[in-house]
Symmetry: C2
Subunit: 492 residues, 2 copies
């Protein structure tokens, strides 16, 4: 039977076991770790429909969406397995000795090594892909770290099923028993104790600003501070440029009505704010968007807490000075259901009201109607750091508004052209992260193979006998990986 | 004339100017930035003997040492210029579109971009290499960041001379006037204001634990926290293994007497603690070390504050229970001069006294005599994070004590075999950093080309028209840099 509460002594036991398991786990070979991750993926698939129906029951997310998310989750596990098999991710860097330099240069060899035990907080809106065996866990296990997951209480049974699948993979592949552990205590105190524990080396979190900031503050206040990678959401500003609006207003409205209401707006990449310059094209877009939104069927949100917060925040936003309701779903929402809503405000009123910059988590979007490019730029720049920002425009638009392209990298980690921010491709080039508060450390991404770099640190060996070096650094390059040797990239 | 104090309004002006300069500076080409860095190097060299004599006067460091350090500083500037000319450091990563995937994969391209304005705090013990135009400044300018240096008051005139050399390089190479600025206010308040300013994007610091921790805490407590890379020193434990002691005691003692007293111990890599297992070999080493230390001539320390702190901390350490004075320089120290000192303690007493783990900045070293490998390991593990740790041993030693090699990466950023930790080679494979408190972020190094990564963040472009992409990401790879394209490293 599982614990649903953990005493401080139990948390300590979990962390002691995780620290001991780290010592053993980091010694396993890259191929052993790859097989472990692949076995987790297979075990999750083997849970079949039982997992999907339990998760749907817990989260109100439809089976089709969950089937897709499960596919993404197992793909991520296999992607990190592939990263381990290929091996170059350790950034092996070699400078050979130069005895006749003054002073003589020693032989120095550097690579990335795992930091220790990583504590992962599951997300309510991604019960598979950002939870128990999600991207944080997969990347940390790939890095060679042991992992302690704090289950999200909104999908506890799902989390237990996945944790059991991981435990079975540990047993069948001979990994150290406690290299992964599952804490089912839902309390705030348990999370705090995990972040404050001396054996915790780093933290991964996906969720609200309030939760992420609290964990960041606990980690920074430690006697020995540790890195926290918290992904805390975003309002993902979208800029609608005049030329494209003048010809594509209707198709843009269709595209954005879909993105705003996808998964009832419960994505961290949901477009919460659209910026345009007053024009006939923008009016046509608003009319078409109003019509589209009216036809969207309400659907249940993830849980009662998110549902309540959505209505409260949405209603507060609508009460702000200058904010006008443009459109809402015409069907009255049922129990736990969200109601998609679009509002408008002019740029001057937006700039006066900091509350309008806050995320309304759900299918709500605010269109800011600006007088000109200068005001639009001011509105854009007034926002805090974002996961994404999007530019919708023709070639003529981009030529006429070149300064926007220069500003965009300072706003967000991902810049989307003529698309929607929802939908995060899992690939090496993805950046899911951005300036604070999109994430607490904009130097890293939470999605894609480079997410592994959050949990590693470089170590160099000076004049180490070749036989004592890790394989990645040995003279013969037995792993056949790409290495920077005397400032040249070589694989031989 | 320079300001020696800055009002809050003046600090604000500096930061506003630096932020505006960043916008212009980041648009300069890699080659333009390279020429800028090379011109700074040439301008520093052109200061000739006047700089060396002024710095020697301010720091009590001998001209020969300063000439070497100046060479390292200009070499670092040219190394980053070379990094910019080669170009691959931006980690360009490309995943091309797959339209028939479900869902379709967009074209995504990622690279590293500069974070904004970096505030650098100069170090007293490296008036060139870690100060005004030192590694932090050079790497941040290479990254494309604007830089504000707070001069170290212990070598203010040196800092002004170097800042003027940078200003001249800005003028002659047509860089934005305020891409580098020099704040000469020595007060704690000025430093705090710089770290807290909303336009500050990151902080580089080299100095004491107290100073670094204070800056880290200010940065973490900001409404929008920023990364701090503080390098806060170390006691750099050295393990002396039995077999090498049995045959090499005298040469080891000579080697370590030199390392402990190099620059009067004023290096962050100074070996402050030596660990050995009680044996005849260790006794022979101690006798030889005592003799060597006795012959070292005292020399002036950097400034009165460091001199006073050295004697206070050294005397406090000698008063701890079980600590015995082994040897000290026989010549009485003159004004501002340090006195090299070696003490011993047994492992059990060391483990009971946390004060003995603290750095005594200067030519003091403590030899911990352990009963066996288990006690030695316990002493080693009781230390906080270190810049370096060193293993002195024969092949037979390493075979007999294999577990020490497994533990070493958790202790420090650099593991030295059969050498001394003093002397930090500037090369790609160097790691100068380590677990807290050696540095505040063990994921980065302060020395070598990869130091540039402290000041950059990844940004990706999704479906961006090719002509609008930065050159590093364009389809034709006009810069000819190494890129990860569809998970393969290619340069074509």
């Amino acid at each position: 039977m599982m614990n649903t509460s953990h005493s401080p002594a139990q948390i300590d036991t979990v962390m002691q076991q995780a620290a001991a398991a780290f010592v053993a786990y980091q010694k396993t070979s890259p191929v052993q770790k790859a097989v472990f991750l692949e076995t987790i993926a297979a075990n999750i698939e083997a849970l079949g429909d039982a997992l999907i129906s339990k998760t749907s029951e817990e989260t109100n997310l439809p089976p089709a969406r969950l089937t897709g998310e499960r596919g993404r989750t197992t793909m991520q596990l296999r992607m990190f397995a592939q990263l381990l098999r290929e091996g170059s991710w350790v950034e092996a860097t070699v400078d050979t000795a130069i005895p006749d330099k003054t002073p003589p240069r020693p032989d120095i060899r550097k690579m990335l090594v795992p930091m220790g035990t990583v504590v992962v907080f599951g997300a309510s809106n991604f019960p598979f892909a950002y939870s128990t065996a999600g991207g944080d866990t997969a990347s940390a296990l790939a890095a060679g770290c042991s992992v302690v997951v704090k289950a999200h209480p909104a999908h506890l049974q799902t989390s237990i099923m996945v944790a059991d699948a991981i435990a079975a993979a540990i047993a069948s592949t001979g990994m150290p028993e406690h290299c992964f552990q599952h804490v089912t205590d839902a309390s705030f105190e348990a999370g705090k104790a995990l972040v404050q524990h001396p054996h915790t080396a780093a933290v991964g979190f996906t969720g609200s600003y309030t939760g992420g900031r609290a964990l960041y503050d606990y980690a920074a206040a430690r006697k020995s501070p540790i890195p926290v990678f918290a992904e805390m959401g975003s309002i993902n500003p979208v800029i609608l440029l005049p030329d494209t609006l003048s010809t594509n207003a209707e198709s843009l409205a269709k595209q954005y009505a879909g993105s705003i209401t996808l998964g009832m707006g419960q994505f961290c990449t949901n477009p919460g704010i659209l910026l345009g310059i007053a024009s006939e094209g923008l009016q046509a877009f608003l009319q078409a968007l109003a019509k589209e939104i009216g036809t969207i069927a309400p659907a249940k949100m993830l849980h009662a807490g998110i549902h309540k917060a959505y209505f409260e925040k949405m209603k507060t936003a609508l009460q702000q000075k200058g904010v006008k309701l443009l459109s809402q779903t015409t069907t009255a929402p049922g129990e736990l259901e969200a109601q998609p809503v679009i509002a408008t405000v002019d740029g001057a009123a937006f700039l006066l009201d900091p509350l309008l910059r806050e995320e309304v988590f759900g299918p709500y979007s605010l269109v800011v109607i600006c007088d000109n490019e200068a005001e639009l730029t001011a509105v854009w720049r007034s926002l805090t750091g974002q996961l994404t920002t999007t530019l919708m425009g023709t070639d003529a638009d981009f030529a006429a508004h070149a300064s926007l392209l220069e500003i965009a990298p300072a706003i967000a980690g991902r810049i989307v052209f003529n698309g929607v921010p929802t939908g995060v491709e899992v690939c090496a080039s993805m950046v899911h992260g951005g300036p604070f508060p999109a994430s607490t450390d904009s130097r890293f991404t939470a999605v894609g193979i480079h997410a592994v770099k959050r949990w590693v640190r470089p170590v160099c060996y000076q004049n180490c006998p070749d036989a004592l070096l890790p394989e990645a650094l040995q003279a013969a390059n037995p792993l056949g990986i790409w290495r920077l040797v005397n400032n040249e990239w070589v694989r031989a």
